[in-house]
Symmetry: C2
Subunit: 265 residues, 2 copies
């Protein structure tokens, strides 16, 4: 009986993988890669193949979700299969479903972790990780939802920070921008009038976390709406209650206006 | 003017570092390492020095916190200094303070991310990351606090999962165990009687996340109290409302009793 090893690719490019992750790929009988659950903007499959020194089979969303990762499971029944995934594995539900199916078939599974957008964004903003509440994904406009607003309102009431993932469709090269995400929240605000997200609300936009040139910009929503974040992927953070050191960090690392000092509680 | 690069070592051993992190260390003018903010049980500084092919200076808690990382800042003023830290950098407040001080002195700073205990534990349990609320550290008994109980009560009321970091003192080789952490929560329960943590509460203990042999065990508190988790470090997760797939994941990956299926809402 074989095994299935989930290996995290970390962030941004082919060098985000850990040394042990690379070793797992080098010693596997079959290596698969999916690259649609997150965008790694500077990842080159050709460079990666050179690094690992072997063939790597690309799996699409269709193969992984509609066909249940059949090819991967078959390879894992015969020998050691490695599935390379952006970020840290098992953060996406898709990988969890595949791992469950593998275990059901008696295939042993293991995980080699990678850097995740979750801790990367928290660290880049300089906000304390233990003060983050529930996180939420802001969907594309055609999937309009009030949920992000509701989650944000709940966290704010509790004084907690909120990490928002902005929707993406890597296969279609489509990314929700910070501006569009803010506009959706403002649209709900207009209806609810709870003063959760207004032009005066502080937020932090993050683009290309984990790359050599991430953009991290804190400002009031009204200003962020027209800020140029450069290329994707994007995240958005709404700070809750600020510790004085967090305010200083936002000023130093996220170019926040000095007036955020007045928000310290 | 120089720069200071924070590089995450990832989890467990010297091969948790990313390829780009290793490159940063190889090309630095001075390399420092701190190993007290988290435990990497199988990390060998000798193996790491061989890997990176150069001298690495160890910095203690005293040097980093009491002396403000003076040696690191001085090296970063002259050239490129790298500070290697367990997990993902800037999750610990200490690193944030050092980064702030560096920026204040006009030293450029960058971050190369690593796998973090935060996303690793969420993934290993098979629980959905966006359903985690505020996280909390459970302190050693001599620093008894009701805060963990309060945070847990708040998350449970909202149906959210709670990630608890268990206190550690790597320099003194001392680690709060799952049992001791549960006992502290039960002590608060005895006083408050809010039925937040009782013998019947479901929890997941995780030991050595990121190693080749992590222990992940879900069970009711009364059973977990006597479960042998092996060596440190430890984390503890309290699931909130369970999706049916999360219940199946707890059974498959965390050996939860089949009765958790009855908790699905």
């Amino acid at each position: 009986m074989g095994e299935l090893v989930f290996v995290g690719l970390g962030l941004d490019d082919e060098k985000g993988i850990s040394l042990k992750g690379l070793e797992e790929a080098e010693t596997a009988d079959a290596v698969f890669i999916e690259s649609y659950t997150s965008l790694m903007p500077n990842f080159s499959i050709e460079n990666f193949k050179r690094l690992v020194g072997r063939a790597v089979q690309f799996v699409s969303r269709r193969q992984l979700e509609d066909e249940g990762g059949k090819a991967i499971l078959e390879a894992a029944e015969k020998g050691k299969a490695v599935l390379l995934v952006p970020g840290d594995p098992l953060i996406a539900t898709t990988h969890l479903a595949l791992r469950l199916e593998a275990e059901k078939r008696g295939i042993k599974t293991r995980v080699v972790h990678g850097a995740s957008i979750v801790s990367a964004v928290m660290g880049l903003c300089g906000l304390h990780n233990y003060k983050f509440g529930k996180s939420v994904t802001i969907p594309f406009p055609e999937n309009f939802s009030e949920t992000p607003y509701t989650v944000l309102a709940q966290n704010m009431r509790l004084g907690l920070h909120t990490l928002c993932f902005l929707d993406l469709d890597v296969e279609k090269n489509r990314y929700l921008t910070v501006r569009k995400a803010l506009e959706m929240l403002l649209r709900v605000e207009e209806k609810k009038r709870n003063e959760v997200v207004t032009g005066e609300t502080l937020a932090v936009g993050v683009a290309r976390a984990g790359s050599v040139n991430p953009t991290v910009k804190a400002d009031f929503v009204r200003e962020l709406l027209s800020y140029d974040f450069g290329g994707p992927p994007y995240s958005l953070v709404f700070p809750g209650k600020l510790h004085f050191m967090e305010a200083e960090a936002l000023i130093a690392f996220a170019k926040a206006p000095l007036s955020v000092r007045r928000l310290v509680e």
